[in-house]
Each structure stands twice: as structure tokens, then as C-alpha cells.
Symmetry: C2
Subunit: 323 residues, 2 copies
């Protein structure tokens, strides 16, 4: 949670007018978002989110992210819609930052997801994958196998500060994934970070998806395996097969997995666990203990990785074995 | 800015239902408030602020603050209105904290106040003073002369870490105020912290007053002298006589100052400057440099105090001398 950059009322009034959003009524810095500064803005036209992209964000990626949101909105996916200013642009400058204004989505993210939420997420993820099929822009996944090696190189010397044997565990897993990682699965735009805090519900109804700042092109089933890691483990790290079956069945009701995807699923799940293990370990080692944003515990993903390493068959996730 | 305490969606849904506010649509922790945790909450009934009172707040004072907001609302003062739950109470428990829900006020606080804002504040402050006349509860001002002595005792040994000679300056001023502080001025409920960030505007129209957590019973003119300190100095610490005249004239158009109040005004202004100098100095010396909330610079009030010490007559503020 953080507001890194302040915005003055006069600057924001001018920006809101430039976006044709009427009169500024109120704005509050909100304690969400790790990378950027976000304000919730009430105007005479409605509620919006103003995002200021902080310096470590590569603004060259913004046209992909914001273009994707527009594309998905056009296809009925409920996600924030970027507003165009009077120059026809989605990006502006304010407080010496690049900024965008998007529509506000009502909804709350489930702190304790239940199977009903997993069903909704599976369905929404498949819908997202299909809706992204004809999106023209491409973005490479910087956090896939090659990126994992790079991350490991940066933390290897200190990995055991987090847990004894962690360096060896990661090295072993990378060697395994170098051999086993599937290369030709059905691919397209993926969200790549569809954790519970990025999925909004009103009651039990999914009201929208947010935070597309890791979106990229990669294997759809890999995106699903990220959700499995994010949604189907309990606070005590035990795997919840009921939630997994709910997630996978709902996804497949919209887009059935191919035989190759089902067969590869345990490998994908290992890769997804390693991906979050690596970024969390990196942040854990590189975040000032007094920082505004507390790093997530990497051990939650050590536990998930060890679970997936023991999986013998896709059926353990609730998938039939590939025929 | 800080969100100290997290609230889960399930807990908040129950609380919102208990307050009869319909269905929870969204909630965001907001980066405002130094003492407490605040969430902006959208429900099917409207927008509200949920405040969780953190442990260092004395909850015995809450009935005064919340009762005052209700009283002022009944008399047409635009300020947050506490919502009663189905048990008829304004206070609840959530996340192991005492909590209240109040209506949300639209408006933005002016980062660069102009004379037009000072006029609006003067008028609103006088209206607040008159509206509070028949409020039945009382609360002593813990931050008046006696409290200043206590604060000084706690920082005296280290005051010169902030600025050389600061300890002597405060001791001199306290000795002066012990002799000169007026005792029998017209009194009642005062806001006691009506800084720009507590006054909302839509365009140039004042839309509401917030943050009554320093409200207490004290001299009305002292409250006005707090506003003079807060609104009528420039970022370079120079006194802006135009803003001062605007503030004082607008106040007096609603409630004219008595001759005794006008005569005492320079002393009150010195006391008000010392009060914020002392609390800022205390916080400066006692706040961890890595804390979420950065302390305000005490020197801004050293500069104000030195200005007031040189004032020879109330006319320098734009008040006619007492006849």
C-alpha cells in the first residue's frame, strides 16, 4: 500500500477537465497497488481511478496494457476501461509522472475464497483468454523460464538466508523445467497475475478483473496454473482439491483443455509456483525492512512447489489424464 | 497516510448490513488520517467512511466527537454524519477495533489556499461556533496552556536538536503566555484543528468540514487564531495580510469579535503558533524516521511564532484596535 506521489487539486481539476469528465468532486489516495500510485476520483461524471506510473515502471509497455483493457471491454470482459482525453490519448502527464484514468469497478476481492469464487474465476479466465485472441499487440513474458534463470542468478548467493536449502531447491527445479517445460501449447494473451486481490465480487457474483500490468503472451494453461496456485491452497498451505476441481471444470466449460495441456499441467503448476517463489524471494532479499510495502513471504510458494513436485498425475488436480 | 488495520470483506459486509446500509459494493483503504485507519466504502445506499480507531485513541472521547457531528448536522453545518446501527449505536467493533461509519463528504482540500478560501473558512468557522452553542457535552482542551507546559517538559532536553535556541524560545514564550493568556473570552465548542486539509471545496464553494478529533471547549477567538496560523502564511512563511483580512472579516460578518477578543488576538495567535510548534516538535523527536507517517516540520511554526512576537497591534492582522 502506498501513495508515492502527491497530486494537487488544481492539477487534477485540469486533468479531469481534459479527459472530459466534468467537475472534480473528491479524490483520495488509496492504499492499493505496489508499483504505482492510485487515486480514487469522484467527478460529476462518475467514479474513476487515476494511476500515476512510478519511475520503475517501463512506460513503453503501457500502450499494450491499456490497449488490452480497451480490447477486452469491447468484447464484454468487465475490467477497467481507459478514458481518452480531448487529444484522443489515454496517457497524460501529472506531477511529473505518466498517468492514466480508468473507470472504477465496484466489487470486493475475497479474503477467504471459497469454491464458488474459484468457479467464477475459472469461467472468467477462459473468457479472458478467448476475448484476447484477436488482440493485435504482443508482449513477451519476461517472467518465463529464461527470466526465472535471470532472477535466480540475482538471488542465488543469498537464497539460503530465506530458508536453508532454498538455493539447491531452485537450482534443481530450474534444471527440471529446462527439460520438461512444454513449448507448443495453445497460447495468447494471459493475465499472469490473477490472484484473489485482482478479482472483484459483489456478493458471490464476479464483477470484474483488475491489474493487467503483468499481462503478456504465453500459454493459456500456464495462466490457469497460476490461478490454481493462487486460489486452491489454504492458509496452512494444504491443497484444496474441491476448489481446484471447481476452477478447472469452470474453465473447461468455456474452453476445454487439449490433451497436451492436461498432460503438461503438473509441469506448468511447478513453473507457476517457482515464478512466484522467485519474485517473492527477490523482493524479500531486496526490500528495506522499513519499506511502505511489505514483501510477501516466499515460503508460501516453497510449500506449493514441493506439493506440485509430488504430483504423479493431472488427475490429482481434478483433470482426467490425457488420453 | 496509513492503513494500520485490515478489514475482511465478510466482516465488513456484516457491519454494513448491521448499519442498514444495504449491500457492500467496494471499499478502499485511504491514505489519509494520521491517528486512525480509514476506508472509503461504497454500498447500495451511497458512499461512507469507515474509521477504525487505533489503540492510541482514547475511545472515551468518541461520544463527544460523534455526538458533536450529529449536533452540527442538525444545525445545518456540513460535516460527516455518524450512522446509527440497528442497536441505535454509532460505535461498533471490527477487526478488534472500535469503529464508526459516517457519511462521505464530496470536496477537495485546497493545496494552495487563496483569499476566497479564507473568506469561506472564516464564515464557516463562525457558523460552527454558533451552531455549537447548545451542544450539551463538554470536553476540556488538553492542548491549552497547561498542556503546553507538559509538552515542553517532555521535549525540553532535546528541543535544540531541532533548532539551536528552540528550548529557550519556548521557555520564554510560555513565561509570557502564563502572564498574558486571556481567561474570560467568549467560549464554546471549537474545532481546534481547522487546517486546509480539513476543509473541503467543490470549485470555490466550501462543501464541508472534517476531522473533529481535536474538538473541545475553549475560546472561540483562539480557534480563529489557529485558522489564521494555518491559512494566512505563505510557503515561504511570510504573512499574507490580504488572506488574514479576508478570514477575519468573513468571521466577523457572522459573529463580530468583542473588544476583549480583538485586544487579545495577538496573544492568542502566539499561543496557537506555540501549540503547533510544540506538538510538531514532540512528534519530530519521537517519530521513527522510517515511520509510515512523516512528521511535519516544527520550524514552520517557529517562524510563525516569531512573526506574532513582533506584532504591536491587532490592526496588523486586519482587526481594528479595541476601543
Amino acid at each position: 500500500m502506498a501513495v508515492y506521489t502527491e497530486v494537487t487539486d488544481d492539477e487534477l481539476s485540469r486533468l479531469i477537465a481534459d479527459y472530459g469528465l466534468g467537475e472534480l468532486l473528491s479524490y483520495k489516495g488509496i492504499a492499493e497497488g505496489v508499483e504505482n500510485t492510485n487515486y480514487m476520483v469522484h467527478t460529476s461524471e462518475g467514479t474513476f481511478i487515476l494511476t500515476l506510473y512510478e519511475r520503475r515502471v517501463d512506460t513503453r509497455d503501457l500502450p499494450f496494457f491499456l490497449g488490452l483493457l480497451e480490447h477486452l471491454n469491447q468484447r464484454g470482459i468487465r475490467c477497467p476501461l481507459p478514458v481518452h482525453n480531448k487529444q484522443g490519448q489515454v496517457l497524460s502527464e501529472i506531477s511529473d509522472r505518466t498517468a492514466a484514468v480508468v473507470t472504477f469497478l465496484e466489487g470486493v476481492w475475497p479474503r477467504r475464497p471459497r469454491a464458488v469464487h474459484c468457479t467464477a474465476v475459472g469461467q472468467a479466465l477462459a473468457g479472458l483468454h478467448l476475448a484476447g485472441k484477436d488482440f493485435a499487440m504482443k508482449r513477451t513474458n519476461a517472467l518465463s523460464l529464461e527470466g526465472w534463470h535471470d532472477l535466480y542468478d540475482r538471488i542465488a548467493a543469498r537464497a539460503d538466508e530465506i530458508a536453508r536449502g532454498l538455493g539447491d531447491l531452485i537450482a534443481y527445479e530450474l534444471a527440471y523445467l529446462d527439460r520438461a517445460w512444454p513449448r507448443d501449447l495453445p497460447s495468447g494473451v494471459i493475465h499472469a497475475d490473477l490472484f484473489p486481490d485482482n478479482v472483484f465480487f459483489i456478493g458471490e457474483n464476479l464483477s470484474g478483473l483488475i491489474d493487467f500490468y503483468f499481462a503478456c503472451n504465453d500459454s493459456w494453461a500456464y495462466d490457469l496454473s497460476i490461478c490454481l496456485n493462487a486460489w486452491c491452497f489454504e492458509p496452512d498451505f494444504s491443497f484444496n482439491a474441491t476448489k481446484s476441481r471447481a476452477l478447472l471444470a469452470a474453465y473447461q466449460a468455456v474452453r476445454p483443455l487439449t490433451a497436451a495441456e492436461r498432460l503438461a499441467f503438473p509441469v506448468l503448476a511447478r513453473g507457476a509456483a517457482l515464478r512466484f517463489l522467485l519474485t517473492r524471494a527477490h523482493d524479500w532479499l531486496h526490500t528495506d525492512r522499513n519499506a511502505l510495502v511489505k514483501p510477501h513471504d516466499p515460503n508460501a510458494y516453497v510449500r506449493r512447489l514441493r506439493f506440485h513436485q509430488e504430483v504423479k498425475s493431472p488427475s490429482e488436480y481434478g483433470l482426467e489424464a490425457a488420453s
